[in-house]
């Protein structure tokens, strides 16, 4: 069966857009083919800086024929209706139509056969539409045609379209179409500098091979493999190690059609700058890899660039040029770093009073003071030294005003740590600069030093309370202030460090600080509870992501007053384990059954069945046994919960199961004697009450 080869040849496509564009091209073309009844065997798409290419294998040469019956007007219907039917169906006279009878009468039916069209024609129709509607994140007009309405837009000027269709063994057809003056053909071009001439291509195989000969590696994966392998070899040849960097590798592979890694070096004096600053300088500004010495685990004075040409001098001029730029960049970085070291972190703080954090939440200065106060309150709860915590909170954000962080925002915190150590701060205080931002995501490390933990929690809670207070809560996919991440960060800090604290108390305290300065911002009723519900949601999401049962979170929060997140997590864990046992499953079933019966009867009688059952009304042994079991279990479970022994509470609950089972087995709840019935409903209510010692079973999904 025939294959389609499509190439869209343009000026340089931004590296970051290439992978998605290749994927979009494949998806758009294959979706259209399938919608047109052309089921293909396989498709692959590729991108280089100057081209998007697509091969679709095994497309049928024709669409399948379609047969369709079209129902027309009633036999003997009005003449205009019959004429209209003939026109719509292309029949020459009504005698060509069949007549079909049903309950409503006799109707004309036209049998239409729509022969499938050649795939070549279908392609000529769909491809220009795809080019016209391609979803580039940003696209542009160019050239003389850009003055006309409806001018083609593309990511950068589009120069040529190759579109061939045919079986691999034959000379293919060109798919005939044009888009805004660009005719599809079979001519493409090689490498911009090394092989710029036109190339005539037929099928994918000769296309890929001819491009390779014209110094273009079509497949981005192949380019990445080449860069990585060569870069490693270059580093290893000098007994060094390449610092691998996937993001950079992806980007660099999108900047070259013919990758040629080369190694350069810089003056060793620059190694006095922190490694991270050297790496950020070389990576962000120059898109080069850095190299470490495995003996010291520190960077060496080498870097690896990826050129796009095999230069006639073997790359000497290219290396020399890059070395010169990197030297200038590192000189800047070194100057920034050394300038930063001349000012103590605390001396930068007054400037924060003039920097607005958020229009409604005041300056960074106010925020830092709030965090300091809150961190000091949290410190004793997490076993942190109060003075150190206050110092850490005060200095934690000071590096935002340094030159290096201004240049490389991703080094915030880390630079603070270096500058704090350089000015002789306590190690815990210094570490908090870096660690109070953590954890940034599910994979990020959670700090364990109590000082960092206190500042990290205070930072996150202040952020959450602030944005809650001004009603900037996340909605749907919108979370511009990363509040979900902040809440999840707080949860992980608490859970992984096994911290005991009341979220309500801490948020109340943070709210208090905020209101001192900005009283009119208190616009949400009961902010701490609302925020607690948000934590509950985050906890559910986290458990779901871990594959754990997230419905149990609701079962625990539904009890009310659960604002000690560590206990919530532990209770959820114990509950999950319990529900995995037979006792757990059956008790859940029994409790639900009790709940269901109660719900029905409460509705019928329009009353509840609270209150202690009357032992004198017990008629059967199973009732007495259950009542006794409930008393015992309630006491044991509550005691266990009070000891925070949730496993113990679950074991206590397990004892309830045989009595509940026996009760439902032998006892009829709706006894004819209304007094007995009421009493039995009260017993059922007691089951529910007993299980509430650990969770609201009604919230648990079966």
């Amino acid at each position: 069966m025939p294959d389609l080869l499509l190439e869209l040849f343009s000026e340089e496509i931004p590296a970051r857009m290439q992978a998605k564009a290749a994927d979009d091209l494949r998806r758009m073309v294959t979706d259209k083919l399938v919608a047109e009844g052309l089921v293909y065997e396989g498709a692959r798409a590729f991108a280089t800086p100057r081209r998007l290419a697509l091969i679709v294998h095994g497309i049928p040469a024709r669409q399948p024929d379609l047969k369709e019956e079209r129902r027309g007007p009633r036999v003997g219907g009005a003449e205009p209706a019959i004429q209209g039917f003939l026109k719509a169906t292309g029949l020459s006279s009504i005698s060509e139509a069949k007549i079909q009878s049903d309950k409503k009468g006799d109707f004309y039916i036209a049998l239409l056969e729509k022969p499938g069209r050649p795939a070549l024609d279908v392609l000529a129709e769909i491809l220009p539409v795809i080019v016209r509607t391609f979803p580039w994140p940003k696209s542009m007009r160019w050239g003389a045609r850009s003055a006309r309405p409806g001018a083609l837009t593309w990511v950068r000027p589009l120069h040529a379209i190759t579109a061939t269709f045919g079986p691999e063994t034959e000379e293919p057809d060109v798919v005939q179409f044009s888009v805004d003056g660009i005719e599809a053909g079979q001519t493409t071009f090689g490498h911009r500098f090394m092989a710029p001439n036109a190339i005539s291509v037929r099928h994918f195989h000769d296309y890929e091979a001819k491009l390779q000969a014209a110094k273009v590696v079509l497949d981005p994966r192949a380019r990445k493999d080449m860069i990585l392998a060569d870069a490693k070899t270059l580093a290893q040849a000098q007994n060094f190690e390449l610092i691998e960097d996937q993001g950079l590798l992806d980007e660099v592979a999108g900047l070259v059609e013919w990758p040629v890694p080369l190694m350069g070096s810089f003056d060793e004096e620059f190694l006095s700058i922190p490694d991270e600053v050297i790496r950020a300088t070389i990576r962000n500004n120059q898109k080069c890899f850095v190299v470490s010495d495995p003996n010291t685990d520190k960077l060496t004075n080498k870097f690896i660039l990826t050129a796009n040409i095999e230069a006639t001098d073997g790359g000497k001029a290219i290396v020399a040029g890059n070395e010169r730029v990197i030297r200038a960049r590192l000189s800047d970085a070194k100057f920034f770093y050394e300038t930063d070291l001349k000012t103590r972190l605390e001396d930068r703080l007054p400037k924060f009073d003039h920097i607005v954090f958020h229009e409604k939440l005041g300056t960074q200065g106010e925020r830092i003071k709030r965090i300091e106060r809150l961190a000091a309150e949290i410190a004793p709860l997490v076993g942190a030294d109060i003075e150190k915590t206050k110092r850490a909170a005060r200095l934690a954000k000071a590096d935002l005003l340094t030159e290096v962080v201004g240049e490389f925002p991703e080094l915030q915190g880390l630079m603070g740590k270096y500058y704090a150590l350089a000015q002789g701060e306590d190690a815990s205080v210094a570490a908090a600069s870096e660690d109070h931002y953590k954890p940034q995501g599910p994979a990020d490390r959670v700090p364990t030093d109590p000082v960092s933990v206190a500042v990290a929690l205070a930072d996150k809670i202040d952020t959450l309370v602030g944005f809650w207070a001004i009603d900037e809560k996340p909605t749907g996919s919108k979370d511009p202030y990363a509040l979900r991440r902040a809440a999840l960060g707080a949860i992980r800090l608490i859970a992984e460090n096994e911290l005991r604290l009341s979220v309500l108390e801490v948020t109340n305290s943070a709210l208090g600080s905020l209101l001192e300065k900005r009283p009119k911002e208190a616009i949400i009723d009961d902010l701490p509870s609302d925020l607690l519900a948000f934590f509950a949601d985050r906890l559910k999401v986290q458990l779901r992501d871990q594959g754990a049962r997230h419905d149990l979170v609701d079962a625990v929060f539904s009890l009310g007053g659960q604002d000690d997140l560590l206990l919530v997590v532990r209770r959820v864990e114990a509950l999950g384990k319990f529900l995995d046992t037979d006792d757990g499953k059956n008790l859940l079933a029994g409790t639900k059954r009790a709940g269901n019966i109660l719900a029905i009867e409460e509705k019928r009688d329009k009353r509840t069945f609270d209150g202690a059952p009357d032992p004198s009304l017990y008629r059967r042994d199973e009732e007495k046994a259950l009542a006794k079991a409930i008393d015992q279990v309630k006491r044991e479970a509550s005691n266990a919960v009070a000891r925070e022994d949730f496993a113990g509470a679950m074991s206590a609950l397990a004892k309830l199961r045989p009595a509940v089972d026996a009760f439902f087995d032998k006892v009829k709840v709706n006894d004819d004697d209304l007094k007995v019935r009421e009493n039995r409903l009260k017993v059922l209510n007691e089951i529910r009450a007993a299980t509430r010692a650990v969770a609201d079973f009604s919230k648990i999904q079966d």
């Binding site: 696209s139 160019w142 045609r145 850009s146 120069h159 500098f193 796009n308 040409i309 001029a317 010169r324």
Partner: protein, 314 residues
């Protein structure tokens, strides 16, 4: 056009700063550009020259090239930084409509100044351009030579709030950087300016080092902010006044007769704002509102321009 080899050594682009400028001017003159002289006002970039900002608008063909001294008061470093200047030169080329071979034209211009693409790694790296003060944006690249950004390449999509129809291509060469590269010099002040050696040699530092020191003092410490605030206000008012005065009802269409003088005042306001910004007397929130005020002027000038002889359809 004479080949590089036929030039005397002191005129060659890799030997002298002025030789580089002359070579680029010859190259683009040979292509058919009008070679203009720098605009006689202080601007932040070659784009501000009316030959770009205003001429990019409207349907008429326009191919021009010129050197533009560019002032970035904040970038001054008292002459102490090897490559940061508060005053530097841009070489600006504007081609409307953008020709289909504009990338090749650019690469040939690099070859003309001695950048051999068989030896050097030339790259087009994504860089979308946006000028909030000019109400302008475009897509294009930074052009890298061996890892150094040597030019900006932009397809203008909108300028002064007006859609470009047709689109113009803009090339901006950072002349000092390019010269440092082709001369193999690490410090801008070490550039050979006139291509002579020995006693006859004039370096970039001989011409500009003192100016960098003096203007850095001026820009950061001394510039009279009360006067500058007043100048901003005056330029803004004058711009609006000239714009208002320029409108006429022509025989069959509205016309504007004073877009250029009005635009001068917009340029003036923009530069005065840059000086105030360098003096650190504009807060973060105010900053945005100043930018918007300049943009409003630029937009009104663009609107006026497309109603002038040069800015409208024939």
């Amino acid at each position: 056009m004479p080949t590089m080899d036929s030039l005397p050594a002191h005129m060659r682009p890799e030997r002298s700063f002025q030789g580089l400028i002359l070579t680029l001017q010859r190259y683009w003159a040979d292509y058919g550009c009008v070679i203009l002289q720098p605009y006689d006002m202080e601007v932040g970039a070659g784009t501000f020259h009316p030959a770009t900002t205003l001429r990019a608008l409207g349907p008429k063909r326009w191919n021009a090239a010129y050197v533009q001294p560019s002032r970035r008061p904040k970038d001054g470093r008292y002459g102490e930084n090897p490559n940061r200047l508060q005053h530097y030169y841009q070489f600006q080329v504007i081609l409307k409509p953008s020709p289909p071979d504009i990338q090749e034209l650019y690469l040939k211009s690099l070859a003309a100044i001695g950048v051999d693409s068989a030896l050097h790694d030339i790259r087009f790296v994504e860089d979308d351009w946006e000028s909030p003060t000019l109400g302008a944006w475009g897509l294009g690249w930074e052009c890298w030579c061996d890892g150094m950004e040597v030019s900006q390449f932009t397809y203008f999509q909108q300028v002064a709030g007006v859609e470009c129809a047709p689109v113009a291509g803009e090339l901006t060469y950072g002349l000092e950087r390019l010269a440092m590269y082709v001369q193999g010099v690490d410090r801008v002040y070490d550039l050979n300016f006139n291509g002579r050696e020995g006693a006859e040699k004039v370096g970039y530092g001989d011409v500009f080092l003192q100016a960098e020191q003096e203007y850095s003092r001026h820009n950061f410490e001394i510039a009279d902010t009360a006067m500058l605030f007043e100048q901003f206000r005056m330029a803004e008012e004058a711009c609006k006044k000239y714009l208002a005065a320029g409108w006429r009802e022509g025989s069959n269409q509205r016309e504007h007769l004073m877009a250029l003088p009005a635009y001068d005042q917009c340029i003036k306001a923009s530069h005065v704002f840059n000086l105030l910004d360098a003096r650190g007397v504009i807060s973060v929130t105010e900053r945005q509102s100043y930018i918007l005020r300049v943009r409003d002027l630029a937009k009104a000038c663009g609107e006026a321009w497309v109603h002038t002889e040069a800015g409208r359809a024939a």
